[in-house]
Structures are given as structure tokens and as C-alpha cells.
């Protein structure tokens, strides 16, 4: 048998081998002082590791946790049913509050709700007419922008047809050169500023 593979050596020390494998290793160890030393060394290390003292838990630790649990607000995830239930509860509470208000102020309950309904309906109608006006304005604005863009595109087409391909090539090269020069100068300035900061 060859000298021990270190991973197998740990498996042997931790009892993770079959009895046949264990026997093989033990017979090799009996004949190989180098492996015996390696095993003994790691065995002592593992024994020391396994006997490391534990962190002492204070006697009131669990009580402290439970106190915090009872005082800390619990963050729970609200489901869709939770939201629906909360909405329904809010609606019922509003109806109850309005009913109480109507009774306390001496009004007829059904007349009070009819008046309230009419009032609310007029608000809804006003809001709807404002929304329609906003929508009309947006459609008009879109039409104007569309028209302007179309005209701009047409003009660009006419303009490009007037310029020769050579002139275009010179223009593009010039633009790239300008961008490159500005980039290099900017980078240099940035480096110089950094240098001064240091």
C-alpha cells in the first residue's frame, strides 16, 4: 500500500471508513513511521479542536430573547386576502361612522346617504370631465410633435441628398477626431486634478 492520502487520513481519524479500509490503513501504519507521525499529529490537533471550550450562554439569554420578541413589532408579510379584509373593514368603519354622524346630527339616515351619494357623484363627474380634457390635450400635443418630427425628417432627407458621400466621410472623420480630442483633454485634466489633490 502507498503512503496515505491526506483526505483518507482524516476520514480514518473521523471514523468515516469501512472496516476493511480501516484495516488496510492500520496495517500500513504499522509499517510506515512517516504516516504514523502524520496521523498522530493530526489526531492530536483534532482532539484539541474537538475539546475547545464552548461560549458560555448567560442564564438570562433566552428570557432576553423572549422579552424582545414580546416587545418588538413583528414584521409579517400581508397577503392579498389581508389587504382585501383590511379594505372591507375600513369601508364598513366608514359607513358606521357616517351613520353615527347622521343619527347624532338628527338627520334621516336614508336621505343623508342619498344626499351624500349625489354630492360624491357630482365630484366624480367633475373629475371625469377634467380627465377627458387632459386626454384631449395630450392627443393634440402628440399630433403636433408627430407632425414636427415628420417635417424634420423630410428636411433631413433633402439635406442629405444634397451632400456628396465624400463630404459625409470628411464630416464624420472630423466629428470623431473632435470627440477623441475632447476626450483626451478631459482625461488629462482629470488626472492633473487628481494629482493636485494628492
Amino acid at each position: 500500500m502507498n503512503c496515505l492520502n491526506l483526505e483518507r487520513l482524516y476520514d480514518y481519524l473521523e471514523g468515516d471508513l469501512s472496516s476493511a479500509e480501516k484495516q488496510d490503513i492500520e496495517s500500513h501504519l504499522a509499517a510506515c513511521p512517516k504516516c504514523r507521525d502524520a496521523v498522530a499529529e493530526r489526531k492530536r490537533m483534532l482532539q484539541a479542536i474537538n475539546s475547545l471550550p464552548v461560549f458560555e450562554v448567560p442564564p438570562n439569554f433566552a428570557k432576553g430573547v423572549m422579552d424582545r420578541i414580546s416587545t418588538a413589532p413583528l414584521k409579517t408579510k400581508v397577503t392579498i386576502f389581508g389587504w382585501l379584509a383590511a379594505g372591507a373593514a375600513g369601508f364598513l368603519a366608514l359607513i358606521a361612522a357616517l351613520s353615527i354622524f347622521a343619527l347624532v346630527s338628527g338627520q334621516n339616515l336614508s336621505l343623508f346617504f342619498i344626499r351624500l351619494n349625489h354630492g360624491l357623484w357630482s365630484y366624480v363627474k367633475d373629475a371625469a370631465s377634467v380627465l377627458v380634457k387632459i386626454a384631449k390635450f395630450l392627443v393634440l400635443a402628440f399630433k403636433i410633435v408627430h407632425e414636427l418630427l415628420g417635417r424634420g425628417l423630410e428636411s433631413l432627407k433633402v439635406f442629405t441628398s444634397l451632400i456628396s458621400p465624400e463630404a459625409w466621410a470628411i464630416f464624420i472623420c472630423g466629428a470623431l477626431l473632435l470627440i477623441l480630442t475632447v476626450g483626451v483633454l478631459w482625461g488629462r485634466r482629470f488626472r492633473l486634478e487628481k494629482h493636485h489633490e494628492k
Partner: protein, 167 residues
């Protein structure tokens, strides 16, 4: 009660990971609060301790991220050349571990564990301080079993090298 049953293993794990008892106590308390708040998401097909250690591990990793302590990715190989080992026994030197008494050795082991890369330390602590099985660790960290075994093997050999250095 959950807290009483798991307070010692959680404190042992967090204590070895952060190295300070007071901080470990605070963190352990926070972990139990998180466990309580997340009880609704616990699924009975998983072992409770596995789920709890997953929460504790995430908490410790968050702490390191906030403190910007570099952690070694579990997929990453250690950079230090000393962390790679030949698989045959090469040691020609006389045993250094024999030079120390158990008490002295424990102190040095404590200091050496602190020096382990975070991801190796975590697995090592679970295995040798908490006594978790390789399978449990693989499930907590969502890693292949072979990777977990290899990481723990590497941690032990790094410890051996660290212990071999003069104090």
C-alpha cells in the same frame, strides 16, 4: 423551547465566526428574532437546525458585507499558495504539535481558526464545533457534498500549517 434548545450551538457558531463574545451574544439574539419572524416560511420537510443555521449564516455574512470584510467565495480557490496541498504525506519535520500541551494548543487553535478564510471557517466551525454532518452543511450552503468535504479538508490543513508556524 426553541431558544433554550439552540442557544448554545448558535452562540458557539456565531462566537467562533465573529470572535467576540458580546458581539456574538447580540448577533445570536438577533438571529433568534429573525427565526421567530420567519417561522411562517419554515417548511417541515427541512431539518429545523439546518434552517436555523442558514438564517444565522446569512446574518453573519450580512455583517461582514456591512463591515466590508473580504469573504472568500465558495467557488473561488484560495489565492495563498500555502492553501494548496499535495495529497501525499510530505512532512519530514518532527511533529510540532507534540511541542505543546493541550491548553496551549487550544489557544493557538483559537487564533488559527480566526485566520481561516471566512467560507472555510464557517464550514469548519459547523463540522468541528457544532458537529453538523457534511450533508447538513451541503444543504445549508446549497453546495455539492464533495465541495463541502474538500473545503473542510483544506481548512484543517491550513490550520495545521498555521499551528506549525512559531508562535
Amino acid at each position: 423551547m426553541i431558544v433554550q434548545r439552540y442557544q448554545q450551538p448558535v452562540l458557539n457558531y456565531i462566537g467562533r465566526m465573529v470572535g467576540e463574545r458580546d458581539l456574538a451574544l447580540d448577533f445570536s439574539q438577533e438571529v433568534f428574532l429573525k427565526v421567530y419572524a420567519s417561522l411562517g416560511s419554515y417548511r417541515a420537510q427541512y431539518k429545523f437546525s439546518t434552517w436555523l443555521f442558514k438564517i444565522a449564516s446569512n446574518y453573519v455574512i450580512d455583517h461582514w458585507r456591512k463591515k466590508k470584510i473580504p469573504t472568500l467565495s465558495l467557488d473561488q480557490q484560495p489565492e495563498d499558495g500555502e492553501d494548496r496541498y499535495p495529497l501525499q504525506v510530505p512532512d519530514e519535520n518532527p511533529s510540532v504539535v507534540r511541542q505543546f500541551e493541550l491548553r496551549e494548543l487550544r489557544k493557538r487553535i483559537d487564533a488559527a481558526i480566526d485566520k481561516l478564510p471566512a467560507s472555510l471557517k464557517e464550514l469548519f466551525v459547523w463540522r468541528h464545533i457544532n458537529g453538523l454532518s457534511y450533508e447538513e452543511m451541503a444543504e445549508i450552503k446549497d453546495l455539492p457534498l464533495g465541495t463541502v468535504k474538500n473545503r473542510i479538508f483544506q481548512a484543517k490543513e491550513i490550520l495545521k500549517r498555521l499551528l506549525a508556524k512559531p508562535a
